[in-house]
């Protein structure tokens, strides 16, 4: 437990880095999927309109 505490204490900056990268990856993946979904709906609506 002591070792873990020292590890976290000494590498705080890299832990912050890891968390920031994870948050960005999450936001990006969410936006990317959302973009894809919106595009699919746009296409299907367009097809329905053409019929």
């Amino acid at each position: 437990m002591d070792g873990l505490y020292t590890f976290l204490n000494e590498n705080a900056l890299y832990i912050v880095l890891l968390i920031a990268l994870l948050v960005w990856a999450g936001i990006f993946a969410y936006l990317y999927r959302l973009d894809k979904k919106i595009r699919q709906i746009e296409r299907s609506l367009k097809r329905r309109e053409e019929k």
Binding site: L13, L17, L21, F28, D35, L45
Partner: protein
């Protein structure tokens, strides 16, 4: 999604990923010799790294509110509901980023100034800005007729947009405060980046600004498209 659009999105992911990596992982040293070392800013140290993220959020706030104003003007000129949609989508994003800038700044203030909130001119001005745009959405929710709502909120977006440069760029600079760049700042009243950042910091800072700006336009585009789908589904498909 075609190949180019896909590539651009992945490119943005990598771009901002690298910005985060460099901004946080580059070491701060007293006397930088190597290209990846940041100079230690007296009194800030590692806490100076906030500027790579906090300033771009404030920057995106300004862009979003100004875009909202521009589309408000366009709505008043052409009366096209799509302009209203663009305007309100941008104002919403601006409010979100304004909130993020406030929260990140407040957390930083706790560790640098000793309290989360002490009504520094910068804190006061961003608080007023949050109120101004909070009122924008209160106004929108209070008007039933769509055309009237669009026209009123377009006028309000223009009036509110005019105040943005004052609250972001002028008031906090002429009043003395603790925020970097405030009037009475011992090293001059200019923005912090002019005199304290080294070349490698400047590069990462501007890369971050560019990345955040592209991210804003992407999210704005998504919001506008969702709004259009909504409009199309509530009305016959032939509406623009």
């Amino acid at each position: 999604m075609n190949g180019i659009q896909k590539g651009m999105r992945i490119g943005l992911a990598v771009w901002l990923g690298l910005v985060i990596l460099f901004a946080i992982a580059f070491p701060t040293v007293k006397d930088p010799q190597l290209w990846y070392e940041f100079p230690t800013i007296p009194g800030l140290g590692d806490k100076a790294r906030i500027l790579f993220f906090h300033v771009p959020t404030a920057w995106v706030t300004v862009i979003a509110f100004l875009v909202s104003m521009v589309y408000g003007i366009r709505y008043l000129a052409r009366r096209n509901p799509d302009d209203d949609l663009r305007s309100v989508s941008s104002a919403g994003l601006g409010l979100l980023f304004c909130f993020l800038a406030t929260v990140t700044g407040s957390v930083w203030a706790k560790f640098n100034w000793g309290s989360f909130w002490n009504w520094d001119p910068r804190e006061t001005s961003i608080f007023i800005l949050l109120l101004v745009y909070g009122a924008y959405f209160a106004l929108r929710s209070a008007v039933e007729s769509e055309e009237k709502r669009a026209a009123l909120s377009a006028v309000y977006a223009v009036l509110a947009g005019v105040t943005v440069p004052f609250f972001v760029f002028i008031m906090p600079r002429i009043m003395s405060g603790l925020h970097p760049g405030a009037g009475g700042d011992p090293e001059g009243a200019g923005p912090v980046l002019e005199f304290k950042m080294s070349t490698n910091m400047l590069l990462i800072f501007f890369a971050s600004l560019a990345g955040f700006t592209i991210l804003y336009f992407w999210i704005w585009n998504l919001r506008v498209r969702v709004g259009r789908l909504e409009l199309n589904n509530l009305e016959p498909f032939s509406t623009p």
